[in-house]
């Protein structure tokens, strides 16, 4: 008796969820989105992912809806929280396609969750333009999952961007060749550190201090004190948000005098500038945008109007752009024939908020921003793999 009532209860609930608002004149199209709202990655998704889902849908509906094969569809989002658990992501994507009959399923958030869901997208032939997954194995992945596109690049180009920036500063005499480099002991940090060490040695830098620290370390002052003791000319940290904030504060407290100070994830977050205000001037970070370009300015303004929060200067624009690529491909193909849409994505270049996006034969977007710098309260792109609008990098003045 028990199991039947529960299955009936679940079915009832599912039906309630799916029915949603009654169909108004214009046909409604379901758009599925699954990402963390709780769990370790909730913080990042709350800044870069969820606001852009809301913004993209309101923009498309603002333009009268998605024009597909002569009909225009009003978009309606179905959001699921996967609690940063790959098992949940897989179930949610399955649910979106099977139960909710969502025609468009936006890619999940972060490398791990995207790759866990990739087999499901592949089975349904759904285009999957990831915007928050970094991997150097784009070729192996695209062989296994032909419908997966990587826009955020991998560790190699990011490291190359940072190395080029440092070489430019050194050649201009702004910094010497002594370098201190730390990383968070998580897959992301390890991958970047292993690329960076040989790259910097080849570029003629010598590593005066190098270490890793576990995820969730409460006190990074020992790391900063040891780095300062090595008297480096430049400091680089492949860090996650909590460590980025902690390392920056410790650098201010220790008054770390370096010509270049680079921290990774969250440097581009509005909360970073919100916390350190003038202190951020000259800080380098992962990502960046063509901040002075018109496209980004209007995007940032709309982002704040619609979602009430400022976008970050790296992932936000990338997430929105990946949605634009999907939108333009569907409208260009004029139907929901996923195979044709994927072929279209492979073949064309798309004009987006961060500028033109063109995927190479491994479905990898070769040109993206790698390094940005806080200049005058805005996080401007200073190095990229083939993006225009880069500003010149400045020497890091003393901490204010």
């Amino acid at each position: 008796m028990k199991r039947r009532t529960f299955t009936r209860l679940a079915a009832l609930a599912l039906a309630a969820g799916v029915a949603g608002t009654p169909a108004i004149a214009q046909e409604v199209l379901k758009v599925g989105a699954v990402a963390p709202k709780t769990g370790p990655l909730a913080g990042g998704a709350a800044v870069s992912y969820w606001p852009n889902v809301k913004l993209w849908i309101s923009d498309v509906n603002g333009r009268g809806g998605l024009k597909v094969g002569g009909k225009t569809y009003k978009l309606e989002a179905i959001e699921y929280d996967d609690q940063t658990n790959p098992g949940e992501t897989i179930k949610a994507v399955q649910r979106l396609v099977d139960q909710d009959k969502a025609k468009i399923v936006l890619p999940p958030y972060s490398t791990g969750l995207n790759l866990a869901a990739a087999p499901i997208y592949a089975r349904y032939g759904l285009p999957m333009i990831t915007s928050t997954a970094t991997t150097d194995k784009a070729d192996a992945l695209s062989a296994q999952f032909p419908n997966v596109f990587i826009t955020l690049g991998g560790a190699k180009p990011v490291v190359q961007g940072v190395v080029d920036t440092m070489v430019k500063l050194r050649d201009r005499g702004d910094i010497g060749k002594k370098l201190a480099m730390v990383n968070v002991a998580d897959a992301f940090g390890i991958e970047l550190m292993n690329e960076a060490k040989p790259a910097f040695k080849k570029a003629g830098f010598d590593l005066v201090y190098e270490t890793s620290y576990p995820l969730g370390t409460q006190d990074l002052s020992p790391v900063m004190k040891a780095a300062k003791a090595a008297a480096p000319d430049a400091f680089i940290a492949w860090s996650y948000p909590p460590d980025t904030f902690a390392l920056t504060e410790q650098a201010i407290v220790e008054d770390l005098k370096v010509g270049a100070f680079f921290t990774a994830v969250a440097t581009a977050f509005p909360a970073y500038a919100g916390r350190f205000r003038t202190g951020v001037e000259g800080v380098l970070g992962i990502g960046g945008v063509n901040a002075d370009g018109e496209a980004f300015k209007t995007y940032a303004k709309r982002h704040e109007e619609v979602t009430g929060a400022k976008p970050d200067y790296w992932a936000s624009a990338m997430v929105y752009s990946s949605f634009q690529v999907l939108e333009k491909s569907i409208e260009a193909v004029g139907s929901f024939d996923n195979a044709a849409i994927i072929k279209h994505i492979k073949a064309n270049s798309f004009d987006t908020v961060i500028g033109p996006i063109k995927f190479d034969q491994h479905n990898n977007n070769p040109s993206f921003w790698t390094v940005g710098q806080w200049q005058g309260g805005v996080f401007k792109g200073v190095a990229s793999t083939g993006r225009d609008g880069a500003v010149d990098v400045k020497k890091k003045a003393a901490w204010k």
Partner: protein
């Protein structure tokens, strides 16, 4: 030398994180896994007061403490008293409280998400350098350490000197016999639990000045607090203080001289070793 001071400062932070749980578990017998969420909530309020109307976290604490006290008192009455009534043995109460407070931690995360959203929140307060014995330290960490010393000191004095403090210590040692001498165990346990909650929330407000928090980070603090309370000896205020300082020093020592990658692993190793050779913790009484 600066390893010693940095270690002590970290120890002060850990004392703030763990002291509340020691009161809640040691005295009121409630293994509270929602302790981390209460800490983060304290941090949220401090962030909200500071960014909203520039009220310094050191002042916000005087608002956070009473509110948290009341809130925890209600939580004890509504959610935990039925468990205490129903529990036939101490073991059963502990297991039930573990499962219930885990549910509560989920509810707390859900509520914080609803009110504060999932975003990271961090702010700078007193993040100027302070020179002690020739080395520089974050002013906010030093302030938090001093606050920890004040709070732990007051708690220790209050527990050992005042009548109410003695009743709390009585129910932690032997709840059954405490009832015989006329102590209303349930009311005292509620008092201890509420006090523990207030201390945790205050700790949260103080450490949010230098740590970045978001709605889901409570778990890390809960685990750290559990390790410290068990290591120091359940129900013993001195135990928690010593264990917190010991852990702070060990982690800083390993971070500076061995390999920062091993700090948390070393902390858990210390926890395992103490648990095996002195299950009752450094200062605890050997429970049968």
């Amino acid at each position: 030398m600066d390893i010693l001071i940095t270690g002590l400062l970290l120890g002060g932070t850990y004392a703030l994180i763990a002291m509340g749980l020691n009161l809640q578990y040691g005295m009121a017998r409630i293994m509270n896994l929602a302790n981390g969420e209460m800490l983060v909530a304290g941090g949220f309020v401090a962030f909200w007061f500071w960014t909203g109307s520039q009220i310094s976290p050191l002042l916000t604490v005087f608002v956070v403490a009473p509110v948290a006290f009341l809130l925890n008192w209600l939580i004890y009455l509504i959610f935990l008293r039925p468990l205490v009534k129903r529990a036939k043995s101490r073991g059963q109460l502990e297991v039930d409280s573990i499962l219930t407070t885990f549910g509560l931690s989920f509810v707390a995360v859900g509520l914080m998400l609803a009110f504060f959203g999932g975003d990271y929140f961090s702010y700078s307060y007193l993040s100027e350098p302070v020179h002690i014995l020739g080395d520089t330290y974050g002013a906010n960490r030093v302030a938090a350490f001093l606050a920890a010393v004040v709070i732990c000191g007051l708690l220790w004095l209050w527990l050992n000197r005042s009548r109410a403090g003695m009743t709390i210590r009585a129910i932690s040692v032997a709840p059954e016999s405490a009832r015989l001498v006329g102590i209303d165990v349930r009311r005292t346990a509620a008092l201890a639990f509420a006090l523990g909650g207030a201390v945790t929330a205050t700790g949260g407000a103080l450490i949010s000045t230098f740590l970045t928090l978001d709605a889901s980070t409570g778990v890390i603090f809960t685990l750290k607090a559990l390790v410290i309370v068990i290591m120091g000896g359940v129900g013993d205020v001195r135990g928690t203080i010593v264990a917190a300082l010991l852990l702070g020093l060990l982690e800083t020592f390993v971070a500076r001289l061995v390999d920062p990658g091993l700090t948390l692993a070393a902390a858990y190793l210390l926890f395992v070793v103490i648990l095996l050779f002195r299950p009752q913790g450094l200062f605890g009484r050997p429970t049968t």
